[in-house]
């Protein structure tokens, strides 16, 4: 949560403020958490996204006020698109949580760039098993991501 906020806001004190807000509102709204709809990480990151956006809006307002009274306007902090960052974190967690051997197969295919044949040899599994785990795992990840973003 803090890492995401820090990357977006580029200020340790702002990121800490947002982190505090996220956990406070998560605790207060804990009855809204539905475990079936996604992981706890995904839920916390969704709250983080909202809080960061709120924070940036407030920041933009301050900047407009500042320029209205003649102060120099600073550039907005630049950073990569938030959704992309959150998706990456959620996906990494989903892969790590997949039961073996599916998680391992996806890690080897995605991160190590291994071929089905190499994975099958290394894990001593039939080629067809590796192939079907890779496909189904990929479909599983996509539907998980759709749940999180919807």
């Amino acid at each position: 949560v803090y890492g995401v906020a820090l990357r977006r806001l580029r200020s340790a004190s702002d990121a800490e403020e947002v982190t505090q807000q996220v956990f406070v509102s998560a605790w207060r709204g804990r009855s809204d958490y539905r475990p079936n709809a996604g992981s706890l990480t995904a839920w916390l990151l969704a709250i983080t996204r909202n809080r960061v956006v709120d924070h940036q809006r407030a920041w933009g307002r301050d900047q407009r006020l500042a320029s209205a009274v003649g102060k120099e306007t600073q550039l907005r902090p630049a950073s990569e698109p938030m959704t992309r960052l959150l998706d990456r974190i959620v996906l990494a967690e989903e892969i790590a949580q997949l039961p073996p051997p599916r998680g391992t197969i996806l890690q080897m295919a995605f991160w190590d760039g291994k071929t089905y044949t190499q994975i099958a040899e290394q894990l001593e599994l039939p080629l067809g098993t590796v192939k079907s785990h890779a496909r189904r795992g990929l479909l599983q990840l996509r539907s998980r991501l759709q749940e999180v973003t919807s």
């Binding site: 207060r28 295919a109 991160w111 890779a134 496909r135 990929l138 479909l139 996509r142």
Partner: protein, 255 residues
């Protein structure tokens, strides 16, 4: 021609071997729906292949601030839930007990001893919980951070954390440790090591969730007499009380 199946598209997105027949490739070239689905799957692969940015750690005081903010928004009185929205289903166990017991008092026949005992137990439970919350609040609101340090990994180890030397209003000095580190089959033990590198005190074992609060030996407080190096070691479950020599993270308190 019919659309391609999700499995076919996933196989094609993984691009490991020719998965589709020439006719299916033709379909893919013409069909927007199948191509859209393929793009989604390719995006998942692309995102999954990118490294996750390293996590950063906020100051260790953040948990105290969060607890303090939550403690101040609901002054919990006996029988009330801790939640500002009044939606705390998880607290039902505490609030349900009294209403079930109370009708026993109102009945015309004299309450049996067993009922009185039950009622008393219920009230005791609620008061007990209320008192615990109050004590926790008091503790949260009344500590001073004397010194704090980041805990950084030693070569060959991972993990990051913070250690804070805090003093409560009653004068008790504790070390609050918070560590994020990979799971281990070993036991984590928290030490205060002297700057001479020879003498040390074990403060106790760190719970698996990585957070613990340890009373500091009374005669070391408040300036720790040189025992300012906070060390978390990995100890095998061998019953040997000596430091294993395998330190995971360390930090030095600026006192």
């Amino acid at each position: 021609m019919t659309h391609l199946s999700a499995e076919q598209l996933a196989g094609h997105a993984l691009r490991q071997r020719p998965e589709l027949a020439p006719g299916q490739l033709d379909h893919l070239a013409q069909c927007e729906q199948c191509r859209g689905e393929l793009d989604e799957l390719s995006a998942v692969i692309r995102l999954s292949s990118e490294p996750v940015p390293p996590t950063a750690m906020p100051a260790g005081s953040i948990w105290r601030n969060i607890r303090a903010e939550l403690a101040s928004d609901a002054a919990p009185t006996v029988g009330e839930t801790f939640d500002a929205h009044g939606t705390a289903a998880s607290d039902n166990s505490t609030s349900e007990a009294p209403p079930q017991s109370q009708p026993a008092v109102e009945r015309s026949r004299p309450p049996s001893r067993a009922r009185i005992a039950l009622l008393a137990a219920g009230v005791g439970l609620v008061v007990g919980i209320g008192a615990t919350v109050a004590v926790n609040q008091a503790r949260d609101n009344q500590v001073d951070v004397v010194a704090s340090t980041a805990l950084t990994p030693l070569p060959g180890h991972q993990g990051h954390g913070t250690a804070e030397l805090v003093r409560a209003r009653d004068g008790v000095v504790r070390l609050d440790v918070s560590l994020e580190a990979p799971p281990t089959p070993d036991l984590r033990e928290v030490w205060l090591i002297n700057t001479d590198g020879k003498r040390m005190y074990s403060l106790g074992s760190l719970p698996p969730d990585g957070t613990g609060s340890f009373p500091v030996p009374a005669r070391l407080a408040p300036n720790l007499e040189g025992f300012i190096v906070v060390d978390v070691s990995l100890e095998p479950y061998d019953g040997n009380p000596a430091h294993s020599g395998n330190s995971e993270v360390r930090g030095t308190l600026p006192v």
